[in-house]
């Protein structure tokens, strides 16, 4: 996700029925390559990766819920999740979720974004996706007092690095 990063367009996203989405988001693709395809209908059935069964069951319905939120859902001027933002967030999560990563809490933001939150053994981590390639990673280690918020646009390596801290916190506690 560096020089190959590009903004998703309407051509990248297909809606298949009301429970299945398909994207050709090219998070890791070379410019000349055919785009990577993640068919979420297959994802939901766990055909691509068995670990998906563990988290997609709670994450995907939340994404669907946020896509359908009415304007003003927060009692102010809250906007529904934008489709391309939701798809980008799912792709990001697909890239970082491993069997060691706990299932995140999923929440909308009033501006039409989505965020994932992890809390384990005094370590808190939050990935907020405001739009494709417009993300923020925040974390706080209650034991060391370390905390930071990092913008993520084209280089998402910090996500893997901070995810390791979450693993470490879990291991130390167990």
């Amino acid at each position: 996700m560096d020089s190959t990063a590009r903004t998703l367009s309407d051509r990248d996203i297909l809606i298949r029925g009301d429970t299945s989405l398909e994207t050709v988001a090219t998070l890791g693709a070379e410019p000349d390559e055919a785009p990577a395809v993640v068919n979420l209908d297959s994802v939901r059935r766990g055909k691509i990766n068995n670990d998906l069964q563990r988290w997609i069951g709670s994450v995907f319905p939340a994404v669907q819920e946020f896509l359908r939120l009415p304007v003003g859902w927060d009692s102010y001027n809250g906007k529904p999740l934008k489709l391309e933002t939701g798809m980008f967030a799912l792709q990001l999560l697909y890239d970082v979720m491993t069997p060691q990563v706990p299932v995140p809490l999923v929440a909308p933001t009033s501006a039409g974004g989505i965020q994932f939150e992890w809390r384990r053994d005094g370590f808190e981590m939050e990935l907020c996706v405001a739009a494709p390639y417009d993300c923020e990673l925040s974390y706080r280690d209650q034991q060391t007092g370390e905390e930071d918020s990092l913008p993520l646009t084209t280089d998402f390596s910090a996500l893997t690095r901070i995810m390791r801290k979450l693993h470490t916190a879990q291991r130390l506690a167990s």
């Binding site: 003003g72 927060d74 001027n77 939050e126 990673l137």
Partner: protein, 130 residues
């Protein structure tokens, strides 16, 4: 308009509604908890209790049209301590009956929003919150 610490002093409080969509089930505990997403708007709408008190109005006013929403209270000094300004913006288009409406203006990164979530005091609290 600019920050107004005379009408909204640091020791006073502002009120923000929380709809149930901001209360998400935590996969770790199974209980719902308040997400920091409720405090990320760069221009975050609130009602100032100091302005309401002048007219003898209490927190119920903030829920007048949203009886199912919940309500939290945030300290004005805490908000300003996180590089926010509190501007009195009465009667916005979507709330023409609200003379107490203010906006907490400023960038709210994850750390800031988490600080607001942690400091928020429930005025009307859901029963099943973690």
């Amino acid at each position: 308009m600019a920050d107004d610490p005379e009408k909204i002093p640091n020791e006073s409080w502002v009120l923000r509604r929380i709809t149930s969509t901001f209360l998400r089930p935590d996969p770790g505990t199974g209980k719902r908890r308040l997400t920091s997403g409720a405090f990320k708007d760069r221009e975050m709408s609130v009602d100032a209790e100091s302005l309401m008190a002048v007219h003898g109005v209490d927190w119920n006013f903030s829920l007048r049209n949203w009886p199912d929403a919940y309500l939290v209270r945030l300290n004005a000094g805490l908000l300003r301590g996180r590089a926010q300004t509190i501007e009195h913006k009465p009667k916005p288009p979507e709330q023409p009956d609200n003379p107490y409406h203010c906006e907490v203006i400023g960038t709210k990164n994850g750390s800031t929003a988490n600080a607001f979530r942690d400091a928020a005091e429930w005025v009307k609290k859901p029963q099943d919150i973690a």
